[in-house]
Amino acid sequence: MRLIDRLVGIGLVVLGAAVMNAARSFPNVPGQQLGASTLPTLVGAGLVICALALIVRSFRPGAYRNAPSQTAQSVESSSGEPVRERIGPPLALIGAVLLYVFVSETAGFLLVAPVCLWIGFTVLGVGLARAIAWSLAASIVVHLVFYKMLKVPLPWGWVPVLY
């Protein structure tokens, strides 16, 4: 946490300074000393000050003695086993959403959604046949609910309009 606080602190100092710099070009309301720059300037300054405080605190001995658990809602396994953290599945899920963003307009919801779901099921350890069956069934149900019932214009893409 000490190293993370330092790195995040440096990033936030840069962000705060950039915000203040950008705010300098924002205009005031005619006839006033205030305007579009007031809030961003205060926010930028606040970010720089707090980030510096975070960095200074990270150098203090004993600053992390009573630190809370790493995540606010960390879950402990009732079997007593330590919870193993994995980086692959969340990354794959992020990739699946990006795939949806960049391909769904062209290829269509009914082609892309099952692929995204299949990626998700597979990285979370669902078997091939079950993953394919659930991907297809869930995609069709979501399409029916949002496209048919709620009239959300989900793209058909390469798939001919079926209903």
Binding site: A22, L39, Q70, Q73, S78, C116
Partner: protein, 496 residues
């Protein structure tokens, strides 16, 4: 009286009642699955409520959240995994009761005291909100400015344990809110030439990202092997609860009162209410040594606290448009979408809508008894639903829901970015609630801050001149001073 009759007419319609029952079942389901929170249940509901008339939309949120907060107690007792953060305070206690063969008493107490606490919170909401709205009609920009500041202050200092990170989280939220044209000079800020950013960052995809996608990512990053603590059918869950009511009436009242108070504070909600109540219960108990060994007293007090906080969190949300907790932060977004803009005028112009919301609250609490009983009976089967099948479907639902708000993939991108940021913020110890408050209240803060500064014309004492504004201002400044001076006082004591 007319407003009450009109409100009853709005609520007791077949479609509204169907929405109430369906969202109750949905809330019980989501709340009971470990890792899926009540806030997530609300965020996932928003895309559906988008297509409903105002009253069923609010009914869906109110009912689902009340059920989800209770249902979070079920996996706490059976798996030692809180279904929602609001159950975390007494998860270990409930689990130990189950291990002692008292699963029925643990779950029965959770259910009955959730209902009683919930009814208490709703009663306070029903009486306090209209009275407060009358006062709020006279509020100027100074009062609203200090209310927003008090909301931030509560979220940072009362609900969080690291105030530097809390302030940073709030500032990041304000930064997000400052994107776009909506500012005093109507100048496009931080848009980088992207047309979609001119209108600002859409609120609902941010909420879905921060509350649902971040949870999905967190769930996917862990491999949990929960162990069911009961391998026999459930007996009568209501046996013993009457005795608990007679034994712990003070704890019930104290929990419900504290929960209602914490809930009504802008920015602090059910989770913090439960933690505080559990700690107070232990502190004032005649048998503090029994806490942590499977003792129902803490469950009685904290269980009633978290549900009572739910109702009272709507007081600042409805009267001032300032969220009482993260759930009402989302609900405010829905109210704006439905043209039920929160604020005191809502009580004057559309009192029937407000009374309808109160009635739905009562209805939800009453429905909780039979449906909660049913959920407990089905709990073992419910908890066997594999998370790996739910998580990808929830993520797809989030993506389609974020798309549906403006029929734009930009919403999906915003959702993903917000989700990833919230995921890392939680890992690195930054609280999410102040960020959400910053995003929701940023425009309101800037508007009232700007008009107050113009009125003040350089004389900052004007911020404290009006009595209510002055009182709110002094309280806010005192809380900040107390926290700023705390390290020096502690140092002095150590040296002394």
């Amino acid at each position: 009286m007319d407003a009450l009759i009109n409100a009853a007419g709005l609520v007791f319609q077949v479609d509204v009642l169907i929405v109430v029952v369906l969202s109750a079942l949905y809330g019980l389901f989501v709340g009971a699955i470990p890792g899926l929170t009540a806030t997530m249940a609300t965020a996932l509901l928003v895309p559906i409520t988008f297509f409903m008339p105002p009253i069923p939309a609010v009914a869906a949120i109110v009912t689902a959240t009340a059920m989800a907060i209770f249902a979070g107690d079920i996996p706490s007792a059976l798996l030692r995994m809180p279904g929602t953060p609001a159950s975390a305070a007494y998860a270990d206690e409930a689990y130990r009761m189950t291990r002692k063969g008292q699963a029925e008493l643990a779950l029965g107490a959770s259910l009955v005291f959730s209902v009683l606490g919930g009814i208490f919170g709703v009663m306070v909401l029903s009486f306090a909100a209209p009275a407060l709205a009358e006062v709020a009609l006279k509020f100027s920009s100074f009062e609203y400015f200090w209310l927003v500041m008090l909301g931030f202050t509560c979220a940072i200092f009362i609900a969080g344990d690291d105030f530097i990170k809390g302030i940073i989280a709030m500032l990041l939220g304000l930064l997000v809110a400052s994107i776009g044209l909506e500012n005093p000079a109507a100048h496009p800020r931080f848009t980088f030439g992207v047309i979609e950013l001119i209108g600002g960052i859409p609120l609902i995809p941010v909420m879905i990202g921060m509350f649902a996608v971040s949870e999905v990512l967190r769930y996917a990053s862990m491999r949990l092997r929960p162990v069911m603590a009961i391998d026999r059918p459930f007996g009568n869950i209501f046996a013993g609860t009457w005795k608990l009511i007679r034994t712990y009436p003070k704890q019930l009242l104290r929990g419900a009162t504290l929960g209602t108070t914490v809930g009504a504070l802008p920015g602090a909600g059910a989770d913090i209410a439960a933690w505080m109540s559990y700690a107070i219960s232990k502190r004032f108990s005649r048998e503090p040594q029994k806490f942590g060994t499977g003792h129902p007293e803490g469950i009685v007090e904290a269980g009633s606290a978290n549900n009572s906080a739910l109702g009272s969190a709507w007081i600042p949300a409805l009267v001032f448009g300032i969220p009482g907790d993260s759930i009402t932060a989302i609900a405010i977004g829905v109210l704006y979408l439905k043209n039920m803009n929160p604020g005191p005028t809502l009580f004057v112009e559309n009192p029937q809508n407000i009374y309808a919301v109160f009635m739905i609250f009562f209805l939800a609490q009453l429905l909780m008894l039979p449906l909660g009983w049913m959920a407990i009976k089905m709990a073992k089967r419910l908890l066997q639903i594999p998370g790996e099948l739910l998580i990808p479907i929830i993520l797809l639902f989030c993506a389609v829901g974020s798309f549906a708000i403006n029929n734009s993939l930009f919403g999906v991108i915003v959702m993903l970015v917000a989700g990833v940021i919230a995921f890392f913020m939680e890992r690195w110890g930054f609280p999410i609630a102040p960020t959400i408050l910053g995003v929701v209240l940023g425009t309101m803060l800037e508007e009232h801050f700007f008009s107050s500064l113009v009125k003040a014309d350089g004389n900052l004492a004007v911020f404290f001149e009006r009595p209510i504004a002055g009182a709110l201002g002094v309280v806010t400044v005192l809380i900040w001073l107390a926290y700023a001076l705390k390290p020096f006082v502690m140092k002095g004591k150590t040296h002394g």
